[in-house]
């Protein structure tokens, strides 16, 4: 009867040998020596460990090759990042520069809201290896280093949030002109005209027809990206005033959202952050519907007569002709 055990024992080495020799297509080869990433030499053991962590948490979407084409990726509404590009949306560095490790940590631990990028519970102790492995996918990291961090100035509006929101509304529509070609507007045309004239001295005489909707913009990721409608969409990078400040100040890498830091004074950036935050608070509330209704029902607006008519009408926007 012993003979019946024989096939089993015969199979064993065969089985183990064949089992061990399959490697996922496209995955980086085994690491043999240290790799310099972002100016730091990373040990091969750390990268191999990073590969394990990556495979456990990231692989279904971002894929073995880091190309954002994992098994589960197809059909995702916000496509998973192609990590080979070395372009990242959310980081506290000027848009287009490489993020700092703290930015990776924030994105991995807190996720990107409204996407399949959830807040993963990768243990703190394993995060660094994972981040270095993620960097390995992008050749940029072997020659460049992370950008200078954009440090948030202290919020100058503490205790004066209502004032901040009011100022932010003006900056959003009048100074930063967010609604000109990207974001939806949240003010009447007359208001926007007035804000713009007040803050820049320029007269906005023409509006795009779909002023109250966002406009999909080209991006470096090969897909069009729709800027969020703050009263309807979740903000990917988080919706605390700090998160919003960061997104405004640093910009969104690879997209049309530029870096505003040093373009506008910090007071105004914070004011916009508070304003956007106030819009986010409307989400799924009757007030959002009311605002929408008010904008839809605003009286037909036509630009005031050319400048010779009068130079100092800085009154309310609805002081139309």
């Amino acid at each position: 009867m012993k003979a019946r055990g024989v096939p089993v024992f015969l199979m064993l080495p065969l089985v183990l040998a064949t089992a061990a020799c399959r490697r996922p297509a496209g995955a980086p080869p085994p690491f043999t020596g240290p790799v310099t990433l972002g100016g730091r030499a990373i040990a091969p053991a750390a990268l191999e460990h990073g590969r394990e962590v990556y495979t456990h948490y990231c692989r279904p979407c971002h894929g073995d090759a880091g190309d954002g084409k994992g098994t589960s990726a197809a059909g995702l509404q916000t496509p998973p990042r192609d990590l080979r590009l070395g372009v990242y949306k959310f980081a506290a560095v000027p848009a287009g520069q490489l993020p700092r490790d703290a930015d990776f940590v924030r994105t991995i631990r807190h996720g990107l809201h409204g996407t399949a990028m959830l807040a993963w519970d990768v243990p703190e102790a394993e995060l660094d290896d994972l981040i270095q492995y993620i960097k390995y996918f992008a050749p940029r990291w072997r020659t460049e280093s992370a950008g200078e961090a954009i440090v948030a100035a202290p919020d100058p509006w503490g205790g004066r949030e209502a004032e901040a929101v009011e100022r932010g509304k003006r900056v959003y529509h009048g100074l930063a002109q967010c609604a000109v070609a990207c974001h939806p507007a949240y003010a009447t045309k007359a208001e926007i005209y007035a804000f713009s004239k007040e803050l820049t001295g320029m007269e906005v005489r023409q509006f795009r027809p779909d002023l109250y909707f966002a406009v999909a913009k080209d991006s470096d990721y090969g897909v069009k990206i729709l800027p969020p409608d703050f009263t309807f969409n979740e903000l990917r990078g988080g919706d605390t005033p700090e998160d919003i400040y960061r997104a405004i100040a640093a910009g969104i890498g690879g997209t049309a959202m530029p870096t505003w830091k040093n373009v506008l004074p910090d007071t105004d950036l914070w004011a916009m952050a508070h304003y956007v935050r106030s819009l986010v608070a409307l989400r799924d509330s009757p007030e959002a519907g009311a605002l929408e209704q008010r904008l839809r029902d605003q009286p037909a607006w036509s630009p005031p007569p050319p400048p010779d008519a009068g130079a100092d009408t800085d009154g309310a926007g609805d002081a139309g002709p």
Partner: protein, 251 residues
């Protein structure tokens, strides 16, 4: 401690609760009887002074056998048979009577993947695969008081759409389509879970079901349709690849 069933927001959840309650009652009584019998046997029929010898019987007499079979049969009829009868009726009358021909039902295509849910409704025109399809990630918006008819597929591994507040769940399986229907009876936000182990982050696969009164749902749908259109969601591949989701025939 807080051990209650989750809040029931569904049309038929009380039937499930009824079955569970009925089972708890009947099996509880049966077990109580067993326990009493067991305790008597243990306490009084144990070896002690004055009781050194057991009653010698093999329990093979017709009387013994008749008694055993009778008790087993009574239990079977009292619990199992009534339960099966009740369940079969509820299944054919409610849970397995899918609203195939019901024009009022809201049809939703659910795609499960590691580790999120995608919900696609047909949008205002009522047809899938057109530009006004509404696609949402992790959030299922439904009207109150209408049958919600889900068809599910999975991109990668087996998942299970679990609606604790609606007392139901159904697996999403790669390569085939499963279905489920339920109806929300009240507005509110309810959690959607994944019940089938689907990998390391299985526990993260949480979704939200938002039930709105019909009017609010309408407003939401219009807004979401615009959003989906601007985003170009209609171009997204769905889990079923090219063959489409067959809403006409049963499965």
């Amino acid at each position: 401690m807080h051990i209650v069933l989750p809040h029931d927001a569904s049309l038929d959840g009380h039937l499930v609760d009824g079955v569970i309650g009925y089972l708890t009652l009947t099996t509880g009584l049966a077990f109580l009887a067993v326990l009493v019998f067991l305790l008597i046997a243990i306490v009084f029929h144990r070896e002690r002074a004055g009781r050194t010898r057991a009653h010698h019987t093999h329990g093979n007499r017709p009387r013994d056998r008749a008694l055993t079979f009778a008790v087993a049969l009574v239990m079977f009829v009292a619990i199992d048979v009534t339960l099966v009868a009740r369940t079969a009726g509820e299944l054919s009358g409610r849970f397995w009577r899918y609203p195939d021909g019901d024009p009022n039902a809201l049809r939703v295509e659910v795609t499960a993947r590691q580790w999120s849910w995608t919900f696609r409704t047909a949008g205002p025109d009522g047809r899938f695969g057109t530009g006004d399809d509404v696609v949402t990630l992790g959030e299922l918006d439904v009207p109150v008081g209408r049958p919600i008819y889900l068809k599910l597929r999975s991109r990668d591994v087996v998942h299970s759409l679990y609606l604790p507040s609606f007392r139901t769940k159904i697996d999403a399986i790669p390569g085939s389509t499963t279905r489920l229907w339920f109806q929300a009876q009240e507005a509110g936000r309810f959690e959607i879970g994944c019940a089938q182990h689907c990998g390391v982050s299985h526990y993260k696969m949480r979704g939200l079901l938002i039930a709105r009164p019909e009017g609010e749902y309408h407003d939401w749908l219009a807004r979401a349709e615009t959003d989906s259109r601007l985003r170009g969601d209609a171009a997204l591949p769905v889990a079923g690849e090219a063959d489409g989701w067959d809403w006409e025939t049963g499965r």
